[in-house]
Symmetry: D2
Subunit: 370 residues, 4 copies
Amino acid sequence: MKSLNVALIGTGYMGKCHAIAWNAVKTVYGDVARPMLATLCEVSEDLARERAAAFGFARATSDWRSIVEDPAIDVVSITTPNRFHAEMAIAALDAGKHVWCEKPMAPSLDDAVRMQDAAARSGRVALLGYNYIQNPAVRHMKKIIDDGVIGAVHHVRIEMDEDFMADAQAPMSWRSEKASGYGALDDFAVHPLSLLWTLFGGATHVFGDMTRPYATRPSPSGPIAVENWDCATALLRFPGNINASILVSRAAWGRKGRIAVQIFGSNGTLAFDQERFNEVQLFVRDGAEENQGFRTILMAPAHQPYGIFTPGAGHQLGFNDLKTIECRALIGLIAGEQRLAITFTDGGLQIERTVHAIARAAQEGHWVEV
Amino acid sequence: MKSLNVALIGTGYMGKCHAIAWNAVKTVYGDVARPMLATLCEVSEDLARERAAAFGFARATSDWRSIVEDPAIDVVSITTPNRFHAEMAIAALDAGKHVWCEKPMAPSLDDAVRMQDAAARSGRVALLGYNYIQNPAVRHMKKIIDDGVIGAVHHVRIEMDEDFMADAQAPMSWRSEKASGYGALDDFAVHPLSLLWTLFGGATHVFGDMTRPYATRPSPSGPIAVENWDCATALLRFPGNINASILVSRAAWGRKGRIAVQIFGSNGTLAFDQERFNEVQLFVRDGAEENQGFRTILMAPAHQPYGIFTPGAGHQLGFNDLKTIECRALIGLIAGEQRLAITFTDGGLQIERTVHAIARAAQEGHWVEV
Amino acid sequence: MKSLNVALIGTGYMGKCHAIAWNAVKTVYGDVARPMLATLCEVSEDLARERAAAFGFARATSDWRSIVEDPAIDVVSITTPNRFHAEMAIAALDAGKHVWCEKPMAPSLDDAVRMQDAAARSGRVALLGYNYIQNPAVRHMKKIIDDGVIGAVHHVRIEMDEDFMADAQAPMSWRSEKASGYGALDDFAVHPLSLLWTLFGGATHVFGDMTRPYATRPSPSGPIAVENWDCATALLRFPGNINASILVSRAAWGRKGRIAVQIFGSNGTLAFDQERFNEVQLFVRDGAEENQGFRTILMAPAHQPYGIFTPGAGHQLGFNDLKTIECRALIGLIAGEQRLAITFTDGGLQIERTVHAIARAAQEGHWVEV
Amino acid sequence: MKSLNVALIGTGYMGKCHAIAWNAVKTVYGDVARPMLATLCEVSEDLARERAAAFGFARATSDWRSIVEDPAIDVVSITTPNRFHAEMAIAALDAGKHVWCEKPMAPSLDDAVRMQDAAARSGRVALLGYNYIQNPAVRHMKKIIDDGVIGAVHHVRIEMDEDFMADAQAPMSWRSEKASGYGALDDFAVHPLSLLWTLFGGATHVFGDMTRPYATRPSPSGPIAVENWDCATALLRFPGNINASILVSRAAWGRKGRIAVQIFGSNGTLAFDQERFNEVQLFVRDGAEENQGFRTILMAPAHQPYGIFTPGAGHQLGFNDLKTIECRALIGLIAGEQRLAITFTDGGLQIERTVHAIARAAQEGHWVEV
């Protein structure tokens, strides 16, 4: 496995997260070549230089196109605001780079389609940053389902809630403007959709509803009408008689990173909460009825790749570790390995299509085919 | 307060529960007259006599009409199968008796309307057995909302799940036949609806979806098509920009009596689970942010009428205690007191209308006005 | 089974609890004769009459000796302050009555010995009110242990905590005076000891420690020295290489009725908390390691006598229901049945001896033989 | 801040953990110089070379003394088995290196004293790997206590349990031999002691008890007597009327990394469990009594240094992140900053003294002064 030359665009929340993963992946995994952290890009030269030093990149630039044009670069991490994803990812793919792009693909479905087309024609890897599916707990749930432990799944419920829009007195911002998208649906529903894709593939039919907790938000010039929706609900149908609901809110006081999952099968039930993401709840109807109950499975080396991080069962992985697992998946995909992942062509565009179908269903008030 | 002469029709699950409550109410509350347990009715004379002795009733009969015709009877507990509710309740009300009828009112909306009409013209109390709303925890949630502790409520989610229909190999039964109703919607959704009514009044618009985990169930003569739905989902709109979802399943392995409630307001969040019904979860955004979190409030004498049962905080009430609280509410209503309750005329019929509206929405695939 | 004539002395917290049980036992169980509630005794005639009416007793008295002398009385519930237990119980036993006496037996070991002697020579039932052991969850833990599900038990930890003495500013009271006993050790440790007796019999050696959170408590005339201990710890050795610890506090803010139990065996672990007393936690090392975890078993009809109260799994019993189970045990013992129970002669005195041995160990600073 | 030249001895469980931290610390923190990973030492040359490549170290050796003698090395990570700590740490300190040594210091108290002496005379930093105290949750508990939020602490309980010795059929190993130490007391109790030191300083008096779940363990030649103890209990007295208990077991089925902490104060209570180490439970007696309860505080940027890892509240740190925080503390200490840490001279030796005092108390059966 050859060492990859890496460029990183963006150094905010997820940019730093990518940087941590690129620094950690070799030490944690061992079985890959140590990536060469070549070039870091930020909007200002100064910030770029400062962050390149902090993150261990050899060079800094404020010109992202110079990265795309640099023949030495193998892979580009794109962690800029969503509206830049399409232009950057397409340019990188067209230049023969592999791409690691944060989710979602793009605000408009047209852009997402163009990104997928670029990935398909390039033959390069275009990985999306759906890091939650990289969690050993999620993989274990997938294994439990695939092994038939809970029988045939017929019903799934996923909630995703945070509270960063819960304060009614928070001033009007771009987040509440139409231009930023539907609101909670774009922000959050893609995570449940990535999980559903991972476990069950794509939905065929959807219904939707979107609501506003607060009709207006304050501004210096008085209240301004909120243009999108902080809460959304979707019902989904999957092949094989699997039905699902997604309930999301970014105005749910006290919820910080909740993704509560319940998966009901003909022989048992799985439950999971991202706020305690090192635990899986499993009910199986076996053994004496008097001793049945939901069991809390603590992640451990029995649940790979947990053990690659620590041999101590119940010692817990963290949020940034999930990105390191995703980074290992990217390196593997580039080397031709089979890896659990959502890419532009495999799942990514389907998720975007589903989001827009839910929004249309919400606006029209009836079921919509994806 | 005069002593009430009580008759009980039915001695199954809820019949025994009524009997326990009638026996307990005076000892627990003290502030009422001890009810006189006059007549018990069961389908066979022998069983009626046996149960009358067990439950402390003075007389036994297998003829429920004799109870209605008995001028000494003040109040009739009706705990027979749902399809008998209408005939018995209307006869009792028309004969001037007060009625304590188990939920739901009746399988058909027409019958529910007739029951409500009978209650209205009789001027008698016609209490429905929605005992979960009598829980001190539910009352405390109502108080928290009414006091403005969590601000303006905008979103509510309620799940209700059990697993008595989860076994795909369980043979076909009346429960899966069309004649028994919609399935999970009738069985379960009325509980969430009773809670929503108690807290927010009646829904104005609903959407619905109903699904079948198992298309057929086994029978001696081979698989038979299931005619109703073990899972149901409803979306609801209430006046005042309150939106709610109800998700119910009677095929949810491992869930035994789950009613998981989440209530989101502009200043905080409430959560509750009927499987731990002596606890309320409350998040309020006050004090130092670093010390905020969901708190688990254990029911205690501060949450009436808990203290009437025991002065020990955190010592827990049980399922049957909720019926005793309801029994006290009934006695109070008969005596002209104000009591938290759902009767044929106050909430009961509205809940039935909402159930049927959800079913129609599910069949037609669009929103329906209640 | 003949109907018992019952007298009740005391109508406070536990007196009402006994009254509720005597009223409920026949309706709940069916398989006993309905008790005759004959005489209620309170310190004032007026209160006695009022409570007799409330609790359904035929007669009222302020003279407890008249109860003992009444040949019609079969059984006496004693729920007075602990210091009266010995005199009343011994008189009742000597008069040939069965006794149902609240725990603990008596503040002094001498009195407890005399009570046990009286019970032994009378041949009557002298049941102690250790109602927590009557919990279906406790019986289920006993069954799990007896069935060998968790293998050979080697270690047990029990904590019991409440917060009624946690307020440092609460004024000095009799509870902090030496005359009332050791403090937390008397108040609380008897509950863990009753559980240990039920599961493993009597301890042979103990160590102890007792501490004071607050050296003084306020009074109108200034701070007064606290004379006993609000926190206590005990280590215990049982035959068969079973070791246990008991940690109790009545100054533990936020704990309301916590009795947290952990039982470690060679094949698994049990955990339980009285604040959620309808649940048992069980870890068994069986099946695939990747799916092992503590499971939460919700009490259900599979855990008798739960199903006698309600056929609904996970619907929960309450504190008062445990007393009804104990009442049924009493009736059974009187009728010569085998019933799980702690009586003066079977466990009761052993628990008292153990309490005093722990106190001596705490004072002397070394292990003490019980 | 100058860049440190780092050597690492040992590449097992904790060796890899150190390596991950050394690789991550600059990217995560930014405010330090990137460490130079100079030399890695393992027992075999081949393994040393392989791990040096994996962990990003420039050179590999199988001769640890060459590291101590290398003038270019600034700091040595020591992650070898405990019995080598003294020799290596003293040599490194004597050679003027800073030392980062895994806990505990050494099996014998004499060695620990010599290590402390070496640290004292060297003037170098000799940090111990008590990484659990670096947890933002632990720091937050410290802040809550220091801010007086729960008032004056009077009682602390800590349990630490895992199950790697729980299998009675696991063959006899060095872990059960006397030479390896006391057993659970050495293995585990040092963690609770490190927490107690961090929060309250050193204990003055201790009592102890140590027990064996299994008297023998199997071997090819038949059962062999176990020589140390898989369970231990300690009671501790601290200045200021603080009392504590420590209960530890390495034979507790189902416990994987449990460190359950309860801290009782005059105004509130803290609780914490290492198996969910991103959460702190806090009860404070403030506001309306009816709304009081234990609150679950999810770690967030309000709890530093959490936010340095991720800006997402409730997104969770992992076990390895705690080591990165500790690594930052080490770099800070070397640069003369004040940092929360346990070193040979500050806490480290006191913890060792306490362990040996507990063992003596257990053997002699009475309280021992530390």
